[in-house]
Symmetry: C2
């Protein structure tokens, strides 16, 4: 389990500073990720949840001259904001996680901004995780796979999807709903993060229910994820089917890791108010890249709770602090 | 339970042929729906899952002169196809259900086409159900609510969402993930359909699991949906929190109806190959509008399995056949 990071770093070494999309033969998602984590010495995922009413002031200035309706102008400002946040904090992070809802609410211009932000992040060498929590029956799952990883055949030529490196998905519809997404991701060297145990209080309503056969719903999902991910375990020992596993329930993490020894975990709910990093040990039992720690508002709005520094400097400092904290404990 | 349809029809009567968005004071979702079902004498939901590689030939001709890249041109053709399908079958149906994945895969132009199709359907007096199966933590759920029902405040003015009458949602993240969507929907006279028991084989993987406390995961979801929907029961006895309940598991329908007496059910999996209509009795225990029967490919591609008729005529005939079948049994 802990065999891989060095190997993976070597395997992925020639990729340094190259956007992944330049490579026609896909590198396995887990190996690519393990290499990036080693190179960048970071397990931090920069969450981008842009609220048009709370953008950095500089973004509003930059987008001030944009034309069009409110949707077009807001989308320009959101894209400018994300670029500034990436300028400030990208170097401290291994991945970026745009929250798709925040772009969707701006309509077609928002979707164009999402693509722009994802392309920008990829060019900076970041792993791009589209946080969309999609989940549907097979034929619709295939359409989502086309939207996020693949391409759509049309009589007018192929329409490229967003080119994500990974996508968050809901496992509620079961194996046959995940299969088309896994197939499409695997083909492209991309990965998935299935919701196993989320960080919100409402996770208790369904996910924490005890099953008659033993274990919780989350644990049943974890077993399913492990099974689906086994054919996709790379050289670094990491699977291309990962899990969203809330760090707010540390007592559950050990049991979940035993069920998913190869899954990369995406851990939301970390930040200034989050649990202590020490609780996260089970995440890194799969190696330093076995746990990705997500932070968005904690980084982007660090300037509001800080010592009055500029947004960019405060974001960089907070991202660097989190990076050191997590790296120091487990790498 | 079976008290309401006539009352609701009367309550909603002045709305005939008026698009809903013209009304500033929202009508309750269940009452609006019950009125529409009575007026149109239909419980059929026209699913729009446009595949750019399988559009009606006339749509390709209509969009042949469109400019732009493959995405723009495919989106124009998809919008033209949906308009033709609505021209053919809308009068036989009470609602339309665009599958959002099919539009998302065409990028920003696809999102613009989605809005166009939804506006077109609303103008025809159809209830518009966005089939997006969204589900996320509270702050992101609020963003999805803005995207589908509400509007987003920006420094450049409000950006209007898609104006859906209803949205399909995933309940896996629990009550606090659904609350912002319910609040936004209720404010606007819109509704939700939560995934309770889907029609795919994979539903067995999680949804059919037996709980230690008794019942299945689906039944626990059903209880939660009922509880969340109780404050939103309208005069017709229907709640604004409905359920996606697969008609492929008829033996479960009775138990689920007992747990959700006021929920409108959205029943996928009906069509030429689907189960017999008689299995659906529990759906209509809440009145004729208690069960909406969805069909997409069965209608749109009826011409391929039929007697060589034109796509539009075959679609109309199949929609009319389904409408009569369901209406005759339960209304």
């Amino acid at each position: 389990m802990a065999e891989g990071p060095q190997t993976a770093a070597e395997a992925a070494a020639p990729l340094t500073d190259q956007p992944f999309s330049d490579h026609t033969e896909p590198i396995h998602f887990g190996d690519k990720l393990a290499g990036c984590v080693q190179r960048r010495r970071s397990q931090i995922v920069l969450g981008l949840d842009p609220d048009p009413a709370r953008l950095w002031p500089e973004a509003l200035e930059l987008a001030g001259g944009a034309r069009g309706g409110a949707g077009e102008r807001a989308a320009r400002a959101v894209a400018a904001h994300c670029r500034l946040v990436l300028d400030a904090a990208a170097e401290q992070c291994v991945a970026v996680k745009p929250q798709v809802a925040c772009f969707e609410r701006l309509g077609a211009p928002g979707w164009a901004a999402l693509r722009e932000v994802m392309d920008d992040a990829a060019q900076r060498g970041l792993i791009v995780i589209a946080d969309a929590k999609r989940g549907d029956i097979d034929i619709s799952a295939r359409a989502y796979a086309q939207a996020f990883f693949g391409a759509t055949a049309t009589p007018f030529g192929e329409v490229e999807g967003l080119g994500a490196d990974a996508l968050t998905v809901s496992p509620m519809l079961g194996r046959d709903s995940l299969a088309p997404l896994i197939e499409a991701a695997r083909e492209r060297g991309a990965g998935l993060f299935a919701l196993v145990r989320t960080s919100n209080p409402g996770a208790a309503d369904i996910q924490d229910r005890e099953l008659a056969a033993g274990g919780t719903v989350s644990e049943a999902v974890a077993r399913m994820i492990d099974e689906l991910g086994r054919p996709g375990v790379g050289e670094a020992g990491l699977s291309d089917v990962g899990a969203v596993t809330g760090a707010t329930a540390p007592e559950r993490l050990e049991a979940l890791r035993a069920l998913m020894p190869h899954a990369v975990w995406l851990l939301p709910g970390i930040g200034p108010q989050g649990g202590s990093g020490r609780d996260l040990a089970p995440a890194f039992a799969a190696g330093p890249a076995g746990g990705l720690v997500s932070a968005s508002r904690a980084i982007v709005y660090a300037f509001e709770s800080g010592d009055g520094g500029a947004p960019a400097a405060s974001a960089r400092d907070e991202a660097a602090r989190l990076r050191e904290l997590i790296w120091g404990l487990y790498a």
